[in-house]
Amino acid sequence: MLEIENVSKVFPGRRSLFGKSEPVVALDQVSLSVRKGGCFGLVGESGSGKTTLTRSILRLDVPTSGRILFEGQDLASLSPAALRHIRARIQIVFQDPYASLNPRMSVHDIVAEPLVIHRDVMGLDNRQRTDRAVELLALVGLGAQHLHRYPHEFSGGQRQRIGIARALATNPDLILLDEPTSALDVSVQAQVLNLLIDLQDRLSLTYLFISHDLGVIRYVCDEIALIWRGKIVEKGQTAAVFDNPASEYARMLIAAMPEVRSAATRE
């Protein structure tokens, strides 16, 4: 469904007040392939380049070299109109549920916004958009009574549900999940993860799940890749990577995971 072929991204050195800094290689020959219907986990720590990769897939950044193919079409070769159509089919859920929702828009307007932007594809009138918004909220477990409230009235978990509802609005095929639960408490995280799993099964979605949390990735994803300083250092089936990490980095990362079970087995 999504093919990333040898993508590199180099940010030219920034000219600051007192001179020029070195160019930064954010992505270095990254290749990935996300299978239709699968959940692909991309693991990396801060500064590993995972954010640059998501921005490249969304065409918010343009890669320096390499190709990104969605269902065989090179995103770079698309006309603006065609790109807009693709945008409706690739959606994203962001990490921070507090910052990713416009504080001045009601839940209705937030969830219905993709429908307005893509009205040529979706073909819904006002009334139908509201119906669809209610339907979407129900899908993520929120009642219609929330429709005319504003983001600050919701808890972190509820906001993330609103963010998910927005991502689902245009019936996308691929959803990028950019650390969707890192800002949430564990008990809420579990709810949101289960919701995501449930939605994937019901709507046959494809996920690209980006996280720094190995535990979460292990729980949700069937395939994973580890990215370190812009390079993919390990790729494979989730179980295989956790049981037999091939790279030094993967071994170190897995060893460093703080695990609850270890207390019970420690003594």
């Binding site: 969304l58 994203i92 504080p103 504003y150």
Partner: protein, 294 residues
């Protein structure tokens, strides 16, 4: 989130109620509000409140020149025997109207320029901001004086002259805010779902920068009134006999120190008006600007 569970209330109403509560906690802000309301009332009804309305039209009474303050003339009379109290009341309208017009015009131009510069970035930003820098480097008052002197006296000309040096402040503010908001995650989210520039600017960015602009407008009102009075003082302002605080003070300067009341009361009027708007604006900023709030 705290409102959850209690009586359902729209978020806007709640935010407004909270703001009103905060505002009413500050005595100084309330004083400012009272001053501003009084000022606006006088601006509307001033001429009809004046005890000697004929003096506003230029009528003189040479028999009663330089009378000190008394019951008949609470602020005394001037060199033409005109009632200073009536003139001060009458001058309110010019000052408030001109101040308002300057701020509105400045905000309009500044917001458009700032929004375009901040959103477009790159060369557009560079050029627009250099132009606004230029305006900042030219001393505003001298610029206004030059323009006003060339255009000739009159309220409209004065407003144009001041507004020309006024907009860069708004342009800088709006540009900075737009640039900050542009980096917000919810704007990235809007771009990710395919929103175009117009939608992002008008639906996502501008509504979120309204508050600082309004706060600046209220703070600037006082300053605009001050500038209007300054031009009047220098002798470039409204045409006589229209009473204007700055020009009243300027004429009275020649009769110091013996006939001090002709200068003190117009001066106090300027001070009180500007002070009122500043108190109000400062209070609004406390309520709305989370940075200055603490």
């Amino acid at each position: 989130m705290n409102a959850q569970g209690s009586v359902p209330e729209s978020a806007r109403r709640y935010a407004l109620r909270r703001a009103l509560f905060r505002f009413s906690q500050s005595g100084l802000s309330l004083v400012g509000l009272a001053l501003v309301v009084t000022l606006l009332m006088i601006a509307v009804f001033g001429p009809s409140l004046a005890p000697y309305p004929e003096h506003l039209g230029g009528a003189v009474n040479t028999a009663a020149r330089f009378r000190p303050p008394s019951l008949a003339h609470p602020f005394g009379t001037n060199e033409l025997g005109q009632d200073v109290f009536s003139l001060v009341l009458g001058g309110t309208r010019v000052s408030v109207l001109a101040g308002l017009a300057v701020v509105m015009l400045g905000t309009l131009i500044g917001t458009v320029v700032g929004a375009i510069a901040g959103y477009a970035g790159g060369w557009t930003d560079e050029i627009l901001m250099r132009i606004s820098d230029l305006k900042l480097t030219v001393p505003g008052l001298i610029l206004a004086m030059a323009v006003a002197a060339a255009l000739g006296p009159g309220i409209l000309n004065m407003v144009i002259a001041i507004a020309l040096s006024w907009w860069p402040g708004y342009a800088r503010l709006v540009r900075g805010e737009v640039m900050a908001k542009k980096e917000e995650l919810f704007v990235t989210a809007a771009r990710a779902i395919g929103a175009g520039p117009g939608r992002i600017l008008f639906r996502h960015i501008l509504p979120n920068i309204l508050t600082p602009v309004i706060v600046k407008m209220s703070l600037d009102m006082g300053f605009a009134i001050l500038t209007v009075a300054s031009l009047g003082f220098i002798g470039i302002g409204v045409k006589p006999p229209t009473p204007e605080w700055g020009s009243l003070l300027s004429v009275a300067r020649g009769y110091m120190p013996d006939y001090w009341w002709t200068a003190i009361f117009p001066g106090l009027a300027i001070f009180t008006a500007v002070f009122g708007f500043n108190l109000l604006g400062d209070g609004l900023r406390d309520v709305f600007d989370p940075k200055a709030r603490r």
